[in-house]
């Protein structure tokens, strides 16, 4: 073995995802200090996220895709030369020469040149209008061409090809996919999975031609693409062609300087990612790993980058191969493949579950010893988190394999025996044994503690559900009582309490507490039960005993802010407001000295009111025709809308009209958490409906309904529940969706989390709402009818009742005196709460011209 001499000049050729990861790993090595690192790149911009490339079409900018944090290169003294690729390597002299003619010496050379798209050498393949799909520049060219095009064809039905097809479809082109293999995604899925995938892709309006080769690209007189001739002789019209027929390692530099390359390409490297020249490394898609494979996935590329970085700094590292399991959402279709997906192992048997109606296909490959070897999942990849670790475990299954593929409800509920050495979290390589040890020996008692202790579930998060199951099972086995109750006063979940209240017709918290709970209640169960009672038509939320259950926001029908003042949000359905309405709100804000801000839900928030001011403020709002906006409640907030076909050149339906109708229908509906909605008038989606609990997008023939979307801390793209619905069916489906959610969700569980948790997922939801598979739709419809018929404006009702008005006093023994501790200072022409130590004034002092409005009659004791 040769002695390792630490290099001084390091040259990295290529600045793609793997190249950038190499730089990040290298500068972290303790042995890397004093290195002079130069990066020579072909593309005109630093490394960017090629995996998310397609999102560029939906608005993600090149800057947002960038993987190279600002300042990273400067901080570590790395020189990056863009647009100047290496053209020649002189291994004897240890120099490289670039296209611009510069020659640089190296002690260590790292090749991360990636791959290039394979374009079949058919006649016409380089005509105007032919593209590949690899760089941002490629996408720019595709978009420019798509502008005047009507029909687009994609050659290649793999992952990237289908993404390209989705992009063409989204740009409004009639789209065709031509795949040489007999099925789509031939590498990842088997025949059955491919057939289902094909049907789902076709449902999205993409024409699929499998088993078809490309014979020739036909050009018009001007040299532009006009059609493609397929191997079966058919001619397919196409104004634009994208080749996405696989990639090849970019190993030309290595070939030219005599480095060993594989028979089918790829620079040969050892376990340390070093080539047969000890001063040269190769990583990522250009390298042929010791297991004889060229990896086209980013995770193995990253692993190689880290191995090479450690090796360069004198640390041992090994890359001997990687797990190529994948789980992805392709044009909205869930696809997962893991282990030996094609049953290539000798003697392997297959266990199949296929439901064409529900669009689910699952296959498991079982070895002769009964161990799970791999599988394919299409349409429902819920089980991926459990199955992939079972594959890595390699032990005979302790569960009948059919139990693992049957949908929830059919399978017996026995826990799945995961072997101790099964890797649960592959991001941090945490086995089930390590999780058990954390619970048994390190005193962890919850998922959160196990995550902190083992790091399991803190990477991609896909194993968190499985982690929860294991923790619950282990704790239960150890005799620890796992409490699913709402709080110490009720051993029931929220949805169980909902059923009890509904079936028994209870309207009082104390009755429920007496019959099913204990103690006095608390700030968790009281508002929860108040919401349940209100949702079941229990009358005004401030009446009788209910008043004592409400959170302060509901109690004062306003939103508590950080200094103890409240804010007021009148309802502005669909965001549509008259000039008179705007003037009224403006005048009220001015007269009471309130701070005003436009909300994200297309309405206006008025801040700084004391509880004493709420009735006179609302007196004027109600007189002007405004209603409570329920910003304070766990209830429907707004139905946001774009301006729609009435004004917009692109709109295809009246989105504002529908938004107003929906907002008026569901206003005041109490639910486990707040509800947000939006209606977009065309596929451009300006109302951002797919980030809402229920979002509606207009099509030329009806409305598409998306559910379970969320913004905030854990954003979730909504799932498409149903397409091209007429208005009546749409509203009926939303009615049922909301009532089913209200009936079954946990406390403070948004629809996004609820849908993630729902057994059977979206398919189950569809069956319940559209096919009435549980036989509850008549109940759900009746409950919504009761809500719509029983709605009253909470503020108008409050103003009409002197008893309810009495409690809007800061001090019971000094009604009308605002809290002297709530003070403000001016900022940017309005007020803001005074900070600690800041001298502020009360609102009354700041607004001497305060108009108190007509005096309201308050019943005094």
């Amino acid at each position: 073995m040769t002695t390792y001499r630490r290099p001084r000049d390091v040259i990295l050729v290529g600045h793609g995802m793997v190249g950038q990861r190499f730089l990040e790993a290298l500068v972290e090595q303790p042995g890397a200090t004093g290195l002079r690192i130069t990066v020579l790149a072909e593309e005109p911009r630093p490394a960017y996220d090629r995996v998310q490339l397609t999102s560029w079409f939906s608005g993600t900018s090149a800057e947002e895709l960038s993987l190279c944090p600002p300042g990273f290169l400067a901080e570590h003294g790395i020189e990056l030369r863009l647009g100047d690729p290496v053209t020649e390597i002189d291994r004897a002299a240890r120099t490289v020469t670039t296209r611009a003619g510069h020659t640089l010496g190296y002690d260590a050379l790292v090749l991360a040149t990636g791959s290039y798209p394979f374009v079949p050498p058919v006649p016409g393949h380089d005509a105007d209008g032919c593209h590949v799909y690899r760089t941002i520049e490629d996408l720019e060219a595709i978009r420019a061409d798509a502008d005047g095009a009507e029909v687009g064809a994609v050659v290649g039905g793999g992952l990237l090809g289908l993404e390209a097809a989705g992009a063409l479809r989204a740009m409004g082109l009639e789209t065709h996919v031509v795949e040489f293999a007999p099925r789509l995604m031939a590498l990842q899925v088997d025949e059955g999975g491919g057939a289902l995938l094909r049907r789902k892709i076709e449902e999205l309006g993409v024409a699929v031609h499998t088993g078809a080769g490309t014979q020739r690209v036909e050009t018009a007189a001007d040299g532009r693409v006009r059609a493609m001739t397929l191997s079966d002789g058919r001619e397919l019209r196409a104004d634009l062609v994208i080749f996405s027929a696989g990639v090849r390692p970019r190993d030309q530099l290595a070939r030219a300087c005599g480095l060993a390359v594989g028979e089918r390409g790829g620079i040969v490297v050892d376990e340390g990612c070093r080539t047969d020249d000890p001063a040269v490394w190769a990583i990522g898609e250009c390298a042929l790993a010791v297991d004889g494979r060229v990896y086209g996935l980013v995770a193995p590329g990253y692993a190689m980058a880290e191995t090479a970085a450690r090796a360069l700094a004198g640390e041992p590292g090994r890359f001997t191969g990687a797990d190529t399991s994948t789980k992805l959402k392709l044009l909205g279709v869930d696809v997962a493949s893991f282990g030996d997906a094609h049953g290539a192992t000798e003697g392997a048997l297959e266990v199949l579950y296929s439901d064409s109606r529900a669009g689910v296909y699952k296959k498991l490959v079982i070895g002769t010893d009964g161990a799970l070897l791999g599988g394919v999942l299409v349409g429902d990849t819920e089980a991926y988190g459990l199955l992939r670790p079972l594959t890595i475990g390699g032990k005979p299954l302790q569960t009948a394999p059919e139990q693992l593929v049957l949908p929830a409800g059919f399978a017996p509920g026995a826990p799945v025996g995961l072997p101790d050495d099964a890797v649960v979290c592959s991001c941090h390589n945490v086995s089930k044994a390590a999780i058990r040890a954390a619970l048994a020996e390190q005193g962890c008692g919850s998922v959160a503690e196990v995550k902190k202790c083992t790091k399991a579930g803190t990477g991609c998060g896909s194993c968190v559900k499985l982690l929860g199951t294991i923790v619950t099972e282990e704790l239960a086995a150890a005799g620890v009582n796992v409490d699913t109750g709402l709080c110490e006063h009720f051993a029931h979940t929220r949805s169980e309490l909902y059923e009890i209240v509904r079936v028994k017709g209870l309207t009082r918290f104390s009755d429920l507490l007496e019959q099913h709970g204990s103690g006095e209640g608390c700030d968790i169960c009281k508002p929860t039960v108040a919401s349940i009672i209100a949702g079941l038509g229990g009358g005004h939320i401030l009446d009788g005993e209910q008043a004592a259950l409400q959170d302060t926001n509901d109690h004062f029908l306003a939103n508590l802010q950080r200094n103890g003042s409240y804010s007021v949000v009148p309802r502005i359905p669909g965001g549509e407001i008259t000039p008179e309405g705007l003037i009224t709100i403006g005048e009220i804000a001015r007269d009471f000295g309130l701070y005003t801000k436009i909300t994200g839900g297309q309405r206006i928030d008025l801040f700084g009111a004391s509880v004493d001011q709420l009735p006179p403020i609302w007196q004027r709002l109600v007189a002007a025709g405004f209603e409570s906006g329920h910003a304070y409640g766990k209830s429907l907030r707004t139905v946001k809308s774009c301006v729609g076909e009435t004004w917009c050149r692109y709109g295809v339906q009246d989105s504002v009209g529908l938004a107003i109708e929906l907002e008026l229908r569901y206003r005041g509906l109490r639910s486990p958490h707040k509800l947000k909605s939006a209606v977009s008038g065309c596929a451009r989606e300006c109302a951002e409906a797919q980030s809402k609990d229920f979002g509606i997008i207009a099509t030329s023939t009806g409305w598409n309904l998306h559910v379970g979307g969320n913004g905030g801390m854990t954003p979730r793209h909504a799932d498409l529940l149903a397409t091209d619905l007429d208005r009546e069916t749409l509203i009926r489906t939303i009615d049922r969706f909301l009532m089913f959610y209200i009936r079954t969700a946990d406390r403070l569980e948004r629809t996004a989390a609820w849908l993630e948790r729902l057994d059977g997922g979206l398919d189950h939801l569809r069956a319940v709402l559209l096919d009435d598979s549980l036989g509850i739709c008549a109940d759900l419809d009746a409950l919504m009818a009761q809500h719509v018929g029983g709605y009253q404006d909470e503020w108008a009702a409050t103003l009409a009742d002197p008893d309810r008005l009495r409690r809007f006093a800061s001090f019971v023994n000094a009604p009308g005196t605002p809290d002297p501790a709530v003070t403000f200072v001016p900022e940017r022409g309005q007020i803001r709460p005074a900070r600690p130590g800041e001298h502020g004034l009360t609102l009354t002092d700041l607004t001497p011209a305060l108009i108190a409005g007509p005096r309201l009659e308050v019943r005094t004791a």
Partner: protein, 135 residues
């Protein structure tokens, strides 16, 4: 203290300010399970009535947010302890001794304990000199 609920109609709620009992409101002003705020010579006091009729009086100032909002919290119990939860950041306090059951120390470094005020229901005729004397 527990109040005989049969003759609450003319019952007055009184708080002892260290030197004397001051009338603050009618017993009937209190909704079971909720509180009210009272101005007592510049101090703010939160007064609560639980479902059984017992009265409690503690500081209205929430030591965690520095705002005067505890009277707007939800009354409940933890084990056998009667409690109120701050509406701001939800810390729970023992209504009997003012101790915070969730955290010992407030953000300003002080102990998270509310001052407790003696409170009673009384049938004494209302003394107008004492009521509302802060105004």
């Amino acid at each position: 203290m527990t109040v005989d609920v049969q003759d609450v109609n003319d019952l007055k709620v009184e708080i002892h300010d260290g030197s004397r009992w001051q009338h603050v409101c009618a017993y009937d002003d209190l909704i079971p399970g909720r509180g009210v705020a009272v101005l007592l010579d510049g101090d703010q006091v939160a007064v609560f009535r639980d479902r059984a009729g017992t009265l409690y009086a503690v500081d209205n100032r929430d030591p965690f947010s520095g705002t005067y909002v505890l009277s707007r919290g939800i009354v409940g119990s933890r084990g056998d302890t009667p409690t109120v939860a701050s509406p701001m950041y939800k810390q729970v306090f023992d209504l009997r001794d003012g101790r915070c059951l969730d955290e010992e120390t407030a953000p300003d470094g002080g102990r998270a304990v509310l001052r407790v005020w003696p409170v009673r229901g009384s049938h004494r005729p209302r003394d107008t000199d004492q009521a509302g004397s802060h105004r």
